[in-house]
């Protein structure tokens, strides 16, 4: 679709998202909407590294968890406002990603993905055994309705909805700015032809690292929002590999390497999850898993390049095709070099 209609659709959905909780007052739908916004934010954050830089990380929950733990520890032990905790969490996650990224970037394709799974599992196991970090018990945050300063609200969903929307917009704009800046050009160049990019003075490690740090910082901020909304964090819910895979799934389903792909993916995936669980969960026969698994397979098989890929094919925009699936190190023929 042309740039103008693309923009129109974008603005319309933004308006829709903003008005949604005012129009739909049923808390369950409001909660599902917030879940979609939070999942979308994580998908967009993941996409900066997985889509644009072509580095498929399956251990991103380590950064999400870092955000959740840092802000929780700061607020519970030092009384620091979770807002400051959110920024601190982002910084710590960025630093952690630098430590993790540096050795992992030597690896390509499947090896990189496997290494990130290993890192994610190690972080979860270490936090699980570390008493000072709450160990396996995790933390229950105090349920004080301290409003904006304390980042905790009672029954109303609206504040959480708009914070989640705001965080999503922040993540989108960072993503957009990256694509607009030289970093974005460099990342696309690295993805297409890493050696050619190096011959033009592009340091692969540094720019992948920039993408990784931005991606992990934003994922960490998502972690803080999760902690403040659920008021309970433990290694299982914030550091698990299944959470990392979900972040990737959302971007893949929507269309990797596209700006809005992960948002569409988040909406569809969350809808499938909620509907299958609410619809069939109560039976206890596992039917919700069957429906969920079947839908994922069908979507993956018939829409390999994701929903936005289908949209781009369906209504081809003038000019070059969207970046589409990353090539370097990921296309099937790229053996791990």
């Amino acid at each position: 679709m042309s740039r103008r209609t693309g923009l129109a659709v974008g603005l319309a959905s933004l308006l829709g998202a903003a008005l949604f909780p005012l129009l739909v007052t049923r808390p369950t739908w409001q909660n599902t909407a917030i879940l979609m916004l939070m999942t979308a934010q994580l998908g967009v954050a993941w996409n900066i590294l997985g889509g644009y830089a072509g580095q498929v990380s399956l251990g991103h929950a380590a950064f999400f968890g870092t955000g959740a733990y840092v802000s929780t520890l700061l607020s519970m032990r030092l009384g620091v406002s979770p807002w400051a905790g959110m920024l601190a969490g982002g910084a710590v996650a960025a630093a952690l990603s630098a430590v993790i990224g540096w050795p992992c970037f030597r690896l390509k394709g499947h090896y990189f993905a496997m290494a990130t799974i290993a890192v994610g599992e190690i972080v979860q196991a270490l936090v699980n055994g570390w008493e000072a970090l709450g160990g396996a018990v995790g933390f229950s945050l105090p349920f004080t309705e301290s409003g904006l300063w304390g980042f905790v609200w009672g029954r109303s969903k609206l504040p959480y909805h708009y914070i989640a929307l705001g965080l999503l917009l922040l993540t989108l704009s960072v993503n957009w700015l990256v694509t607009r800046s030289h970093v974005g050009y460099y990342l696309r160049a690295i993805k297409d032809e890493p050696d050619a990019a190096r011959s033009l003075g592009v340091s692969l490690g540094r720019y992948k690292q920039i993408a990784m740090m931005l991606s992990s910082a934003l994922a960490a901020m998502g972690g803080t929002l999760y902690a403040q909304k659920e008021l309970f964090i433990d290694p299982g819910s914030t550091l698990s590999t299944s959470l990392s895979i979900k972040m990737a799934l959302v971007a893949i389903l929507g269309g990797v390497g596209t700006l809005t792909g992960p948002i569409v993916g988040a909406v569809v995936l969350t809808a499938i999850e909620e509907a299958s669980r609410i619809g069939f969960g109560g039976t206890g026969r596992g039917t919700d898993l069957i429906v969920y698994g079947l839908l994922i397979v069908v979507i993956a098989v018939y829409q390999p390049s994701g929903i936005m890929g289908w949209v781009a094919r369906r209504w081809p925009a003038p000019g070059p095709a969207p970046t589409g699936p990353p090539a370097a190190g990921l296309a099937p023929e790229a053996k791990p070099s």
Binding site: R180, S181, H182, Y185, Y186, R188, A189, K191, D192, E193, D195, A196, A197, R198, S199, L200, G201, V202, S203, L204, G319, P320, A321, T323, G324, A327
Partner: protein, 245 residues
Amino acid sequence: MSAPLLQVERLTKRFGGLVANEDVSFSLGAGEILGLIGPNGAGKTTVFNSLAGFFPPTSGEIRLDGRPVAGLPPERIAALGVARTFQIVRVFRSMTVLENVMVGAMLRHKAVRIARRLAEAALAFTGLDRRSHEAAGRLTVAEQKRLEVTRALATEPRLLLLDEVMAGLTQAEVQEAVEMVTRIRARGTACVVVEHVMEGIMPIADRMVVLERGRVIADGPPRAIASDPVVIAAYLGEEYRAPGP
């Protein structure tokens, strides 16, 4: 002769048992064009890759303006003003022609607007400006090679390494390439050109280095090279003589 821009001394490169280069030495002044020729498998591209930093030489020295650069990674060597093209073309397929060149320009100018302006200028210089909004993947091989040159030029290099830029071109396209390299040199950029197309390289090279099985067997002006019996025996074959006396 100004201080040598590039100095290669006793460059040797072994891949396990295979000796790709052995004791290769030559030098190059600013704004000079050096032809690097030799039969297939003579080690030309290995020299290129060593110069561009894709793998460290087994032994020997490479100096740029007197500064040793052997072993530096390609991105550092690029920053020092050495740009290159690839024997097998490597354009950024999913990006437009203009965007490809902008990536080159961004080495010196990170601001996107300035990089775009410089890229447009470079495209005009190499005559690809008509195709700037095409997806690079859709260009012909000849155009893609020209795009690589443009992209390399956009990094404002002092030394340009051209790896068989003229291979597979029609007669007319070879002349265009020769004309373009001459204009590049006119701007003060030195070039090392690896070529098989003799009529492309002979007229523009200030000096020629001939490689055979990894060793330098001749180094001198094109005319001397064309008539040097050792070179002829190894590479040129009887029937060819340099144009003119």
